[in-house]
Structures are given as structure tokens and as C-alpha cells.
Symmetry: C2
Subunit: 339 residues, 2 copies
Amino acid sequence: MQEVRLVFLGFGNVGKALAKLLLKKESELKDKFQLGFKVTGIATGRHGQAVNPDGIDLAFALETDDYSKLGRIAVGDARDFIAKAQGDVLFENSPVNYETGQPAVDHLRWALEHGMHAITANKGPVVHAYRELSGIARQAGRRFLFESTVMDGAPIFSLFRGALPGANLISFKGVLNSTTNMILTRMEDGACFESAVRYCQEIGIAETDPSGDIDGWDAAVKVSALATVLMETPLKPSQVDRTGIREISLESVQQAKAQGKRWKLVCSLEKDGARVHARVHPELVGTDSPLYGATGTTSIVQFQTDVLGLLSVVEADPGPHTTAYGLFADFLTAMGKTS
Amino acid sequence: MQEVRLVFLGFGNVGKALAKLLLKKESELKDKFQLGFKVTGIATGRHGQAVNPDGIDLAFALETDDYSKLGRIAVGDARDFIAKAQGDVLFENSPVNYETGQPAVDHLRWALEHGMHAITANKGPVVHAYRELSGIARQAGRRFLFESTVMDGAPIFSLFRGALPGANLISFKGVLNSTTNMILTRMEDGACFESAVRYCQEIGIAETDPSGDIDGWDAAVKVSALATVLMETPLKPSQVDRTGIREISLESVQQAKAQGKRWKLVCSLEKDGARVHARVHPELVGTDSPLYGATGTTSIVQFQTDVLGLLSVVEADPGPHTTAYGLFADFLTAMGKTS
């Protein structure tokens, strides 16, 4: 039985969902994978941080806001926290920064430098520091993993790493932003744009300022991450040819519906020699397209490779628990528990 | 650079497609995976067999029917062939036997006993000897792999092995038989049942006696394989509650079409404690179901696990080359080239 020391940097919805999943799977991890774990550090934005080499009571951590009761060792900033938590695995879940990827990039680098596996659900570091962090991880014999950054827990990066060995991605098409997809679905059901946005805010999938989703930035960041990792072609979100859904009127949605079609905010990537064409644009799709069936918060990717016909992956009902599963899957991958 | 000795038992459409894929990927295997290969044995049903420890000229083997020109060593039966070919990997592609899985089960066992990895596209051994062959493989430190048996090269078994670690399959639904799906699609376009069957025979996806597909046996075997491997519950095709598509009239297909629905031969599996409910039945599906969009030869699976929302995998345009890719992916997996 191996005992792994886990460290949480960020303990919001996703971090807490991961903690719950780990507790739920605790005995299964022992029985199936001979893996035990203890949590030696939890850092939050709001409630401070706790470090305890003997292991923090995770169930209690899910309930309390008083981190002084959880920790045993005093720590300073994030760098000091990572050093003193002395973990084997860092789960990095700080807020995303589309422009620079910071401070997540630093957190992950420090973790790798301390001999930890670095796992994140944060898209920023993938887009801004994939090569750097992968390089450090390789040299340290550790892993930098980020399955949850695109379509949360659904296997995308692990698909190409493990399930499609020797396959080369030629092109990609998909619906990757749940918020805009839900807005369009609500408009099909007759809601106006503003009321559809409000609905998404109410169910917790849109921010107070929803422009990151609506203007296609979130989709563009995901497209950049896919190009950077799966096509080995670094691409910044600003290099993506991007149009959001602001110009799609209720009338146009209803007109499409009458013709048996649907508007989708379609992400696409195409490899053309050393160059990559990346695009986020609204498209009309018909019932003959697998994209048609992806409504509400459902996401879909379609991969064209050099070895198979069109291969699609569809994920329904995402949430913090499915993002948490992506982190959990990365954890098992880092521990060598895949085959 | 590692040089791997490959042996082909069965060299029909799929075996030949695999040989072509290996030749196409030869330099990529060297560059990316530090893997070289030579083919030390090819056995066919019609043209005899060839064994050559120095390596058979694979490009020439794809063109000639004169196997005396390929081999260097005389061999007797299949067992003798496997022994003398002295390979590291056996690609078993003999014709499927739904009742017993033989002779493929013997071929794979002999290969494992000779220290080879055993890879097959043949469903018979998975349904009839999964535990036995997996056990022998484990003891020998080798792999028994069969990705191509369900949805050919699309990742299904590898998904749970590698990309969804720690996930438990609760239930499954899908369209797994291309022939019946194509027949139903042709009937939607107005063809009668008999003419739709003839079309499938013409394009090479239905046998002269198409009853294995039409009566749901092929689908039932695939469902059994999924239950046996992914739910660790051995299940024989005869235990699947099975109805084929013979009773679906052209009128009923057209009536469904008028209502915006489609008939699909739906496979399903549900885990209920230690028991598994397995079913192959025609079902009417609407545009709200991801199954609706899977027309013609497209296959789809939908997985309900304990960690994600509904996860679907859709594969379009299957053929011998995609089955060959499944074998190729298994080869890389056996060589430890996944991560």
C-alpha cells in the first residue's frame, strides 16, 4: 500500500467536489489500486491555508471555514505553502487568468520543482506554459496533467495519450462552451437572449459578466489548448478567428428551428502543414450532424485522425463533480494506475 | 531502438489492412516510439503459411499468393506455426466462431504460452475465454488485447483501461451493428428490406447469410463482450434478451420518419448488484437522443458511469482499415507506448 500526500491549492466548488470524490472512492482506491492518501495542505483564497504533515481531516475541511483548526504549521505565501505542504501531488484550482495563466503557472512550476505531480483544471497554464511545464515535469520524472481543462472530466487529452496511440489529429470540430450552448437552447424554446443569459447565471454556469462565454473567449482558449497539446502547435486565444453569439437574434434561432436546424457556437481546428487554422464561429447545423443533438450544457468534440473515420465524444450533464473526476483521473494516471 | 517480431495468423482484409498501416507508420514508429518491427510469420487459410526468422518482405506479402517464396522454414499446423514463428506479438485474425470461440482461443493461448502478446479482432475469444486468457497473460507478463472487437478501432476497452481510470460502468446503451443500422437507413430512404439487405451485401458489410446481423446475434456478442470485460460479469450471447429487425416493416420505418423518429437496433446493459440485464431490441428514438444521428454504418455507445454524466462515443465510416487501427493501437499498448 502506497500512501500519497495530496495538496489542494484552491478549495472552491471543484476542489470540494474532488475532496468528496476522494472520500467516496477511498476504499476503492485501496482495494483496486493499492493507493492510500492523506491531504497535507489546503490553501484557499478566502479562508487562508492549512498545512499538516500528519494529514488534514478532509471531511471536517469540507464543513469548516476555520482553517486554524485544520493546520499544524504556519505558512506564508503560495510558494511557502507548496514547499511546506510536502506533497506528492498538487491539485491546482486557482481562478483562471486568460491573459498570462498566472499565478497558476508559478504554482505548478513550484510543485514540479518540489518533486510533486502537477494537476490542474485551469486552462491558463496549458495555453501559456504547456511546453515549459511539460519539460520540467519530464526532467523531474513527474507529470503535468490537465484533463479537466476541456470538456471537464470527459477524456480528451487522455484519449490521444492512452486510447488512440499512434494516431495523428488532422482536424477537429466541436461545441465546447456550455453557457452559449444553453443560451441558444433556451432561445430555441422561445426565451430572449437576455433572459437566457439570466437563466445561465441562475443555474451557476455564467459569470456576472458573461462576455467571456458570449464573445467566444472561453471557446477560443479551449481551441488553443487543443492545438497546443494535440497538434503540438502553440496557439494563443488571440490567434483564434473568433465570433461570439451576440449577433444571433431570437428570430434567427426560431427561423432555423422551423427549418429543422440549430445554431451552434462551433469550434474548429485544421492542421495545414506546420500551420493551424483555428476558428470559433456560430454555424447552422442540421439533424445529419452529430452537433445537432448536443443541446443545453452538453458538449461534443469530433476528431478527424489519420487512422479512423470521424470519432466523436459527447458529454452530457457536466458540473463541478465531473471536473473533479478529471482531476481524479489525472491523479490515477500520475500514479501509473492506467494500462 | 527495440525490434519487435510480429506474427500474423489470418491475412484477409483486416490482416492486410494492418500490414499496410504498419508499413505506412514504419518511420513514425521509429521516430516517436523507438520501435522497429519485422514480420516473422504469416499464416493464411487459403495460401498456406510462411515463417522467416530474418523477416518476411511485407510489401511483397501483400501482393503475392505464393507463400513458398515468403517463408524459409517448413511448418505444420497452427500450433507449430506459432512455435516456429518465434514472435513477440501475435495478431490473431481467424474467422469468428460465436459458439465456442475456437480455434482463436487456442491460437491466443499458445501465443501467450510462447511469451507473445496476444492481440485479436475476434469477438469469440473475448466472450468465451476472457478470464482464462487474461489470467495466462497476467502470469506471463504479457497482454491479451482486443480493442477491435467492439466498434472496431474506436476506443472502448482502452477508454476504461486508460482514459477513465477509477470509473465504474453502471449502464450502457448503443447501436453496435452497422449492417442492421444501414438496412434501417436504406428503408428510411424508401428501400424495401430485401433490397436494403442486398445493398449491404454489395458494399461488403453483410454476409451471404445475413441472419447473424439481422437477428441481433452480432450485437448480442458485442454486448456480451462489454459485460464480460467492462462489468466483470461473464455473459454469453444466448443470455442476452434479443430481438432482431425482421419484424420492422417499411411502413413502420416510414411512419416513424413522418413523426421525426428513427428505428434503431439498440443494445443495452444495466448492472443491478451482481446481475446484469442485457438486451438487444429495436427502439424508436427521436431527435433528442444522440442515437438518432447515428445513421448508416455509424456506431454509437453511451456510457453511464459513477463519475460522469452520460458519455457517448460515436464512430463514423468504419472499415477494415479502422479495425486494423484497433490492432495497431493494441500493439502500441502492449509495447508500453501509452501514457
